[in-house]
Symmetry: C3
Subunit: 418 residues, 3 copies
């Protein structure tokens, strides 16, 4: 145990600033176990949205590492989270990702829990048995304007309140609670979760790899090296910068906060947001850059709202458009595999085939996810090579990758100091 | 090594009486290795029946953990067991589960062993080679009225003689040696072997999970909480108890020992037996509770013989009916997988399609096995959850589970003290 | 680390001469890691032939353990080897086994390397970035008359020059560089790499297992026990010995060195060679023992050239016939799996379907490889059995197995002493 700790300390303290991590951070099962312990079992993890459990008795199961958690909506419409383990013989209570129940009944010996977690029936246990000590173990859950975050530790990071207060004005107008899930995709990337997040935190790779995403998205918005650009490129970049400024002013006038907030590596619950203008018709993340859904979100009347992006450490990113929302959670499976769960949300009153077409709605991000998955796998294969060594991040295009890694290293450092 | 030992000692000594085990007992590869070493390589393991190798030269291979063992019937009809490893380059000698051979010839370089294990041919080994030291390594084997048990250690537990003497009068009338294997199923349960056995040692889960098994089987026979029962239930339970007593008297008069012997946690070769009355027509473990085979076992003339059950620690259970036998061995594959091998035996003179129908013969236990397999998997998933903690056994319905766990803990304690 | 080292030392120093290795050498993941470190990352490993990359820009990837290496032919026809890892974020550069490129462009962020490894383009890295330090890491590569060997360590064994000087006269007449690859097979054997090599180093198993190979090959050529042979066998063996002598004299007169050189365990780059007469028509490794390709290799005019065999430690064997070459490399995947890659080479001017038929060309070794694969798997299964113990090698037929093991043990001993 001490040996493992000191080996991990040496890795964490030996991190070379401005460079990718040493190979074991991506390939070692021991580092993975520490990541679970230090990061995923102790921070706010994004797992889904309120529309995942729209009705009383709706249950969603989410697995974080070896933990399995139930997200349940009760009869008073309150949403709660519990560990998915019967208190009798330890059976997993719900196996499906989604279910609807009256009570939670363990299949094994019919122990029965109410939707608030109380054990209400346990046959044959005898007179001395005290059911009141055997309710389901609860898990901390917070809803940020409909986005659900859970935290598995006893005392979760307190700065979630701060993050929620800063972010609520940005997210609220998109009215997540009044959406439905039009489509969900579960993709297993063959790489460490940190490679998934690193890949998400830069658009340096977009031009060469994402022909669909770069239709609506300006790659300029994620950094460049001015000295390397030709006059035409520079002119385009300047035009984009001007567009960003005028758009921000316009949107803020409409009551839509748009300016960047960037606290990715300066707090426990690191996050960043900004509303970005889109290319072409400027409406949505679609191949024609027009809205994918005829019924807008919330009370929007103007279609050209750009895209509000929201990133959280350690495991989520989100794009809120005028007509739909795309929301992503990365859930580590083991040191070399990560589940990327993507949900597309539209107004709950929209009718499939009438107001929106699923193929059109999901085209850009389905293609982009597949491309990113291949890139993550290439990096995982590279990190396993004994010849791999940390390489330099671009100071112009990979600043947010560096901030993710800095956040990770500082969280690990604090964990190891305990 | 010392660290592993002290970690294991802490687990074993920290077991909470009356509760399921701590998670590592079900999920850790190191505990699994210790289970193999302490339990499966040192106790009498049930592996099959004499009719598995009915004729001279018949061979059956059985794998226990990483060990592979040959069970062979020689030309004098004697049954022996040997390690399935050539003494030359270590090749596995027989790969199939069943084979018939003249001698045991290694495919690699034709080293040839007689059915008694002697090396009788080893070409090109030169004049100085002494074949007499290179016979197959033998394995202890005992037949309890046709049930085959092997023990991999040099000095097997001596109390097998006692168990055999107590059990022979119960089993002998069913004449295992005069049966044939009508059907065998190999099912891999996705759970630790101790979960498989725990599940086998209680019928608390039967009512909610085994609609087929509870047709012939009275769930009352495995315990209940009297204070929770309504008057009708109590009346039924009392009627069952009366039936059990009169049946025992009747069967013992017929020369069929029937009363319970229960030494599950009080000896090294723990076991239990009892002949139980059946529901309905009371003849067999079938959906119509009638005999599945027209030709009875042994010399039986009365079909209503109930079911003689026999359980052994650590890995078997058996039901002897008047017309057939169902016999089960649980063989651990790794910490999360267990092979459950089920054999249905009928009178060797019975003709399939004429005297018995296989679908009818196997229906109850095929369904029950599949249901148990799902339950074991639920518990394995639960035990992997960091939120799992040992839960309480019912004092009314899980006494035999507690006895299995007590036996296991005492065997591990003795092993660790060596 | 010290514990692992001392455990390994105990295994290495405890090896029983003349016997197969202790089980952990075949089954332990820790020994496998040491094998990679001590053997495969520090010796000359045979990986393919110059005709694998015939044209400028042709690339072949080869994986040795966790290392992935690019073999590239540049515009000046020079062949070089590099680690297959981008110096930026560590992505694997080429995923396919074979490709043809102008430059090596990383798919992730378009970092671009010339065929000589220099980094020639890295966008957005800023003014302070020094591309000259970020070229691809090179790997030592040598061509022995067209056979490609690589070595992953900084200072490779120096005796390769000696081996090349001794072997060049044997191999050169077969003109590997003027061949093409007619067929390649990749077979994953379910056994440790040392079992693959042990199996390759004796023909004791040929008679019982290789009906196809023993059509052209005289099993006598690989040893026997004279005292066990009957008069007819002995007469045949003597006839073979006479044939070998007259053939050697004849071939050496034609300028084809043929006598045995055997330095398998007496140097770092252990090797052995001999030209062997063939049975039947004596031309090739085919089912009718005639040439499989109508166009001979090199400038040969006589078809009856026997078979020149060449073995290297730790991972290759080769048969050079008058009409084709069969060449094998064994590449360990993990402690229980080994890739055996077989290439059949014919004169580059030969036309498939006209001058040779692939089914006929590959029949003998395709069958032989499949048989060997089954044998290796049997030994791996045996080595996992707790009852396995090292068995004796035949002093008459397994001398070269013993030499391989002696070489391995001496290389491990030297590694551990460092």
């Amino acid at each position: 145990m001490l040996d493992k700790q000191s080996a991990l300390e040496a890795l964490v303290h030996g991190r070379k600033p401005g460079h990718s991590l040493d190979a074991p951070f991506y390939t070692s099962a021991e580092v993975f176990d520490a990541d679970m312990e230090a990061i995923f079992y102790r921070h706010w993890i994004y797992v889904g949205v309120e529309p995942d459990v729209p009705e009383p008795g709706d249950v969603m199961t989410v697995n974080i590492g070896k933990a399995s958690v139930l997200i349940i909506r009760d009869d008073d419409m309150e949403i709660r989270a519990f560990h998915n383990v019967c208190r009798h013989r330890g059976a997993r209570l719900i196996d499906e990702e989604k279910a609807t129940v009256g009570n939670l009944v363990c299949r094994y010996h019919s122990w029965t829990y109410a939707l608030d977690g109380r054990l209400v029936h346990a046959p044959h246990m005898g007179a001395e048995f005290d059911a009141s000590c055997k309710g389901l173990k609860s898990v901390h859950l917070r809803s940020l304007e409909g986005l659900l975050f859970i935290c598995l530790t006893e005392e979760p990071p307190e700065d979630f309140d701060y993050v929620a207060a800063r972010m609520a004005p940005y997210i609220a107008p998109h009215k997540v609670r009044e959406t439905k899930i039009a489509y969900q995709s579960d993709l297993i990337e063959m790489g460490n979760w940190k490679l998934t997040i690193e890949n998400n935190r830069e658009c340096y790779h977009c031009e060469a790899n994402h022909p669909e995403l770069t239709v609506p998205l300006f790659a300029y918005g994620f950094g460049f090296s001015p000295e390397e650009m030709d006059p035409l490129d520079l002119e385009n970049a300047q035009r984009y910068e001007a567009l960003r400024k005028t758009s921000h002013a316009e949107w803020e006038n409409m009551g839509l906060p748009s300016h960047e907030i960037e606290e990715l590596d300066s707090r426990v619950t690191g996050f960043r947001t900004e509303r970005l203008p889109l290319d072409g018709n400027g409406e949505s993340h679609t191949m024609d850059t027009r809205a994918a859904c005829r019924i807008p979100l919330g009370a929007f009347s103007n279609a050209k709202l750009g895209g509000l992006s929201f990133w959280t450490q350690p495991n989520s990113w989100h794009h809120f458009l005028g007509d739909h929302i795309v929301t992503f959670s990365a859930l580590p499976l083991d040191e070399g595999r990560t589940l990327v769960r993507t949900k597309w949300l539209v107004n709950k009153d929209a009718v499939e085939g009438v107001d929106y077409d699923i193929a059109n709605l999901i085209e850009v991000w389905t293609a982009t996810n597949a491309q990113d998955s291949a890139l993550v796998q290439m990096c995982q294969q590279g990190a396993m090579n004994p010849a791999y060594e940390p390489g330099p991040y671009s100071p112009n295009t990979e600043m947010l990758v560096e901030k993710f890694i800095r956040w990770y290293i500082s969280r690990m450092t604090e964990y190891l100091a305990k």
